[in-house]
């Protein structure tokens, strides 16, 4: 049984400048991992590498034991993403509905949890799952609030029932109430869909609540790979303390 995601000895350089060096970890089914670190530590780059948006200089990324990305048509069904600025991840000329349906229309998957019989049924189920009113789907992205558009992004990510979702700072910029709602939503989704999450964030409470493991990056290197945030090195401890209000 392969882990859902395997990162082995990952290195990424730009013109001999090392951005990430020798990163290794894996994510088993239904487990979630958090990635924390200072700005410039390489967190976002790691996220982009895992998503296959960048090519590593050395090292390997595999999904379910198969190297990723390899160009197979449906390999991207297993992995989805939610970005930091959700509004920018939606085409401003498309309705929210059209954007949410993009992965579904591409893969036409057979779904276990959501109804895939028709797009309308799917949208209704997704609206319920993320706690959004369906009528918002017919609006343009800029007409939704920050919390709403983030939930729409999550709806899009779960619509094809991926095995793993990479989230880059999903709670940053959200007000207190929306943030709490997103955290609860993700907890629920972890339980009902059994999806693994890779959470890149400097919101320590967020990571603590959702992740069974945490990778701590510093200047592109892995400083810690721990399950309890309290059991890290001195650097990690300082970092965690600073982020806990």
């Amino acid at each position: 049984m392969y882990p859902v995601l395997s990162v082995t000895d990952l290195t990424y350089q730009i013109k001999d400048q090392p951005i990430l060096s020798n990163i290794s970890f894996h994510v088993t089914k239904k487990a979630s991992i958090g990635i924390i670190g200072e700005s410039g530590s390489g967190k976002t780059t790691l996220g982009r590498l895992i998503l296959g948006l960048l090519k590593p200089t050395h090292g390997l990324i595999s999904l379910h034991g198969k190297a990723f990305p390899s160009g197979h048509r449906n390999e991207r069904r297993a992995i989805q993403a939610v970005f930091q600025h959700p509004l920018a991840s939606f085409n401003p000329e498309w309705t929210v509905r059209e954007s949410i349906l993009e992965p579904f229309r591409r893969h036409r998957p057979i779904l276990r949890h959501f109804p895939a019989t028709s797009e309308e049924n799917l949208m209704t189920a997704l609206a319920l799952a993320v706690g959004l009113e369906e009528r918002l789907f017919d609006r343009l992205p800029h007409q939704l609030s920050g919390g709403q558009i983030q939930r729409a992004a999550i709806a899009r990510a779960i619509s094809i029932e991926p095995d793993i979702i990479v989230m880059d700072e999903p709670t940053t910029g959200l007000d207190v109430v929306s943030r709490a709602q997103i955290i609860e939503l993700l907890e629920r989704l972890q339980q009902t869909l059994g999806v693994s999450l890779v959470l890149i964030s400097h919101d320590i409470d967020f990571i603590r609540r959702l992740c069974s493991e945490t990778l701590v990056l510093r200047d592109g290197r892995a400083v810690d790979l721990i399950d309890r945030l309290e059991s890290g090195s001195a650097y990690t401890q300082r970092f965690v303390e600073a982020g806990t209000w």
Binding site: T45, R48, H85, P103, H107, G146, G173, G220
Partner: protein
């Protein structure tokens, strides 16, 4: 709204049939410079030809010429611009050098030179206009391509499994096409003006084909006796150009400005992308 189009279509049909059924080229020296009559609705010109038919035919020729030119220029310019936007490296540099090299030429001078080299004809004119105008389309599309490619929703589309051609078709081309069409409608007016100016001095459409600029020139000697021979073609040029400007304004309004950068949420917490 529909009624307006019906009237417009009806007039067009009328003008075209008049032009088709009336000969614009039969000269009749005996009947030259006649005022408006039942036989010739706007009279005859200096060579006895039906003036109205020549006017309408000239309109069709101007429009046809300009649409063809603008379409050709837009296609070539947009293609080159998109290529420059997508592919970094030698192709991009080549296109930029071409742009830099040609943009310095004032269009009038270039048209004169080309007419001198290849002979005065509509084709030379098209070639000259093409050489100059493709650059604005190329730069527009290159900018749009580069800007759009950086948007997160393009990365998202890739994550969703879309192939490059799908992304091109669905995300990148629509805004480009919208803006290119607006540019095209503006250029149609400019090209008509350009064509008229050159035909006036004899370097565009050649006799005996009618063209408003040519007709302006033909009407010059008779200005005191039959001013309509100059005034009407002139008025046609002005009205057509104004019409294209109005058309452009309407299209800009209809296309609307996409509101994608006003939301507070794209601004809060925006930093340089961290490595």
């Amino acid at each position: 709204m529909k009624k307006r189009w019906l009237i417009f279509g009806g007039c067009l049909l009328f003008f075209i049939s008049y032009t088709v059924f009336t000969n614009s080229f039969n000269t009749n020296i005996a009947k030259r410079l006649e005022p408006a009559s039942f036989e010739h609705w706007l009279g005859t010109d200096g060579l006895g030809r039906d003036f109205a038919a020549r006017l309408f035919l000239a309109g069709l020729i101007s429009l046809g010429f300009s649409l063809l030119t603008v379409l050709l220029t837009a296609c070539i310019g947009t293609c080159l611009g998109c290529l420059a936007g997508f592919y970094d490296g030698r192709l991009k540099h080549l296109i930029h050098r071409l742009e830099d090299g040609l943009v310095i030429f004032p269009d009038t001078v270039l048209a004169l030179v080309i007419a001198g080299l290849f002979g005065a004809s509509p084709q030379s004119l098209i070639f000259a206009i093409l050489l100059i105008k493709w650059i604005s389309y190329a730069r527009l599309s290159e900018t749009l391509v580069t800007e759009t490619m950086q948007k997160p929703y393009i990365s998202m589309a890739r994550i969703n499994g879309l192939t490059d051609s799908m992304i091109l078709r669905r995300h990148i081309l629509p805004p480009i096409i919208r803006q290119v069409v607006v540019l095209m409608s503006l250029d149609v007016g400019k090209v008509i003006l350009f064509l008229s100016a050159f035909s006036y001095i004899g370097l565009g459409v050649q006799a005996p084909l009618p063209e408003w600029g040519t007709m302006l020139n033909e009407g010059r000697p008779y200005f005191s006796s039959a001013p309509r021979l100059m005034l009407l073609p002139g008025a046609c040029i002005v009205l057509t150009v104004v019409a294209t400007m109005g058309w452009t304004r309407w299209m800009k309004k209809k296309g609307g400005h996409v509101n994608d950068s006003d939301s507070e949420h794209t601004r809060s917490g925006e930093t340089r992308p961290s490595a």
